[in-house]
Symmetry: C2
Subunit: 561 residues, 2 copies
């Protein structure tokens, strides 16, 4: 998907698109006028309470992928293009995906709204503030932090141990200087000094809660259950103890309404919420997905990273607390990424190399097996890049057919799903939806947390065993004591490998996964198992993209992509 | 204006109001459909570039006040009520006021959208996130901070002295723990440790720049001129040196468009920007005021604190860089506040006491004299409270008449300007507008900063002299060296007294004002003269209002006011 000089940029394509007023998009999706609140001309929030009762609920197509590589898979692009292709095939279709975070936009990643002919619009707005949801989540998170420190400052009735506060402040920014800080300096009038730090907003538990809440009421209840730290005698302190859930929910009252936008082809898209895919579950809000099911026959949604992380969490966390079980799973693969998994270095991925490609296929195979463990049949989507040869593309499809797996090449970046770029894939997906699997979770909640982790490592990652650190072992004991052992597990593992070593590409075997630490997220309702290093506040690169951004003479963003 | 048990709350009154769709309000204000971008049903942003050229520019009525007291003056309430009364008198009228800050809303102040029958709506939305302007300003401020620390981390080509960075991070929150912090801890990979701190967003220089910019282009240029600190060899470092003005302006591209809402009576109101009234100039954006002048015959706008601070800064800072000179100045006074200035303690202000009231009048007299020094004639608005007696009200009006000053009692809180609560005041204001003064600044820019401060202290405050601290004297020399001596001055002084001692009420004389420190705001374009202590990050009280806030069973905010 890398553009050549003659190829228009994503931003140029987006600006050439003919945007329809959001009221028209809403009407086309069956959203009555009283249920849509416009935010500018091309964005709207849906007041779910004003929607008519649904006749039936749409089927969910979950877009997942092979293990990602720096070569890129174009999962969001494919999600958008597939939805356009399904709409073109006559299905009432809706996209449901995450909102982008501002931090990476200013760093170097650019936007997260698809690419080429398969984008959601207006991409400048979606990538910059959008309807303010992340700012509201930041405010709710930081209001809680201010209330925690104020509680301690004003006498600390609850006996909160300032050294054991686990809830951190957040900012939607890449700002490494805020990772480790000391607050409350300046003397007795300025607070109580303690170690603290900022995470990026997408890493906030408030974000995870926001995305798993099934209603505003459930949101308030989940917020109340967040553990913010421990007392001097080691009892957990919750948001409810501080009586802060009300104000937090109030700050989220508009944010919790799903955002409606459109694809270049005019397919309605709900873009809502965006939790990290490592220390959280990495998919858009439950409210957006269930709202889309009420409105469309088919909902195309996306999970972060590869199927080992994204699809596993979608099934074991999100689909456990909401009626969003997928009827089909699309696994996005690319020629370039498979060649990298097959051992070809990054600087040689443009060379045709069917042998390297075939050496990379075991990575795809293991993800296929994972999807089947969830009771579902995968559809492999080969996302075409300009450097791919026909022979390479055919090799993947042929291998899939041999393995009894549906597969199709999609050219949604260059040709768009609204044109014929996604027709073949749409037909395969429709065939899969006609005989949907019965989604099942990988493990029962009764299993101890330790065994849940072991099950995921063995069944999904293909690993041999799990090793828990000293600290993790202590934390497992505390989890049992605090009554949190029945929560599902959220794995924080590198996305690049099935193992916890990012350089082990392909389909490694026999490895041990090292769990360094466990973190209880009692509001979101999962236990994070941290393997390897975990970055919850990114930094800016030496030459940040931000320095090339600005407004053109017409006041439009430039340098953004 | 304190409500009795039988009186409906501000929130109850606001909810009982019959809100008109924002498109109707826009049409009534002469805003063409293509120039209004809706944000929900009752808020909109105006794309100023889409407005037709104006036939004439409306007259500006500046609402200022006597020195504020804890008894409250109801200046915003009066501003809204006066605009409604002028509209009722047949004038095409528009309100232009500041946006509220979230921090104080969560603390204890409640909202800042007027009160009683004189409110702007929808008050819950305006007080909570509104259209996201303050979040955008926070992002632009903190993106700059991330770029500063990243520049140092990545090699510090500019030679920025980490101990001399003057630009701080901001958050729209009352959070005392963030006043003094250390960032960049955790080792070489996490940044360079340094002292830092957070201000509340309204104290950001980006907010001041935002509110003084006359266009998006001017915004970018002013951002570029912000001084963020000094090099190891003490040269100023600007945003332009870091090449950060483009991304900051981009983050503000929507925020810079003025927000349109309505009063309870349906008068169009522009609510936009909200800089601190101490370390900044304390009034809504230049763009909102000039936009309102293009659309209305009369623009009713407000300046922070009393006329010594708010009106002086309006004339000497805002009206110097934009065509917004007032044609009339309304001075809001109340019986209760004048009695307090006259020596009556706060717990006895409900007792009728004409003698104390008369003892307080010198405070009003000095503000009247100030307004006249700007070449303008004041109109005294006595804002009626429920505890006022007819005798007290009459005493103020009689005194004003004797002094040759227009005056009227306004009952806009209880009766509303849309009914007859502001009719008398409207007539006095219209009479003043029929013979408008010629607004002039108090001092020429060529005067050295030191003399500018002295002029304000002597001419406006009635003080004897100014004493500059050692540090302030050094800073004056640096200001001259850096070529900043021709900037106007922004006084950071207590609002409670003409002097720098908040307990000297009434109209003290012979006092010396102590300037502790000078801060250069080269983007906003003024030099702050700091007297007394300066709080740029408020804290939460022992029992924050936030703990009583939440959503009711219909998902509406409760406990907010």
């Amino acid at each position: 998907m890398s553009a050549t000089a003659a190829t228009p940029s994503d931003l140029e394509i987006a600006r050439a698109a003919n945007l329809r007023p959001i009221g028209e998009i809403a009407a086309s999706a069956g959203i009555p006028e009283e249920a849509i609140e416009p935010y500018g001309r091309y964005k709207g929030k849906i007041d779910v309470a004003q929607l008519p009762p649904p006749d039936a609920l749409g089927q969910v197509v979950l877009v997942s992928a092979i293990s990602p590589t720096p070569a890129g898979e174009g999962k969001s692009t494919l999600t958008v293009g597939l939805a356009d292709a399904l709409a073109r095939a006559g299905k009432r279709t809706m996209v449901a995906i995450r909102e982008p975070s501002l931090g990476p936009v200013l760093g170097m990643k650019g936007g997260a709204t698809g690419g080429g002919r398969s984008q959601i619009l207006p991409m400048e707005d979606i990538n910059l503030h959008f309807t303010g949801d992340f700012h509201a989540i930041t405010s709710a998170n930081n209001a809680l932090c201010a209330l925690i420190d104020n509680h301690i400052f004003q006498g600390n009735e609850l006996g909160i141990d300032p050294r054991r506060i686990t809830f951190r402040r957040v900012m939607d920014m890449n700002d490494r200087s805020l990772r480790e800080i000391v607050v409350g300096l300046g003397g007795p009038a300025q607070g109580v000094p303690r170690q603290d730090g900022f995470d990026i907003t997408v890493a906030s538990e408030v974000m995870a809660v926001f995305c798993l809440a099934s209603s505003p009421q459930d949101l308030t209840e989940r917020l109340a259950r967040i553990t913010i730290g421990y007392t001097f005698d080691r009892r957990p302190v919750t948001v409810a103890d501080l009586r802060a859930q009300g104000v937090m929910a109030m700050l989220l009252k508009d944010a919790i309404k799903p955002n409606l936008v459109q694809t270049i082809a005019g397919t309605p898209a709900l873009v809502h919420g965006g939790p990290f895919a490592n220390i959280a579950h990495g998919c858009n809000s439950v409210i957006a997905t269930t709202t889309a099911r009420r409105l469309a026959e088919v909902v195309v949604t996306e999970a972060g990273f590869g199927a080992d992380l994204g699809a596993e969490k979608f099934v074991d966390i999100k689909a456990r607390c909401a009626d969003v079980a997928p009827s089909a799973v699309v696994l996005v693969a690319t020629v370039r990424a498979l060649k990298h998994h097959g051992g070809l270095p990054l600087d040689r991925l443009s060379e045709p190399d069917v042998a390297a490609l075939e050496d990379g296929l075991p990575n795809l195979a293991r993800h296929i097996a994972t999807v089947r463990k969830f009771g579902l049949e995968p559809v492999v989507a080969v996302n075409r890049f300009v450097t791919d040869t026909e022979e390479e593309l055919a090799a993947i499809v042929a291998w899939c057919r041999q393995a009894g797996v549906r597969a199709a090449v999609a050219d949604v970046w260059a040709r768009g799903g609204g044109d014929d770029g996604g027709d073949d894939l749409a037909q395969e997906v429709l065939a899969a939806l006609a005989a949907p699997g019965a989604c099942r979770q990988l493990y029962p909640l009764e299993l101890p947390v330790e065994e849940k982790v072991r099950t995921i490592v063995r069944e999904v990652y293909g690993g041999a065993d799990v090793e828990f650190s000293e600290a993790a072992r202590r934390q497992l004991a505390q989890i049992r004591e605090n009554g949190w052992d029945a929560l599902p597990v959220c794995m924080a593992k590198t996305q690049y490998s099935f193992s916890d070593n990012p350089s082990l590409l392909g389909a490694p075997e026999g490895f041990t996964v090292h769990v360094r630490e466990l973190r209880a997220r009692t509001g979101a309702g999962f236990i994070i198992a941290v393997t390897g290093t975990l970055m919850t506040m990114p930094g800016l690169p030496k030459d940040p993209g931000a320095l090339r951004m600005g407004l053109d003479e017409r006041g439009r963003p430039e340098g953004l992509f």
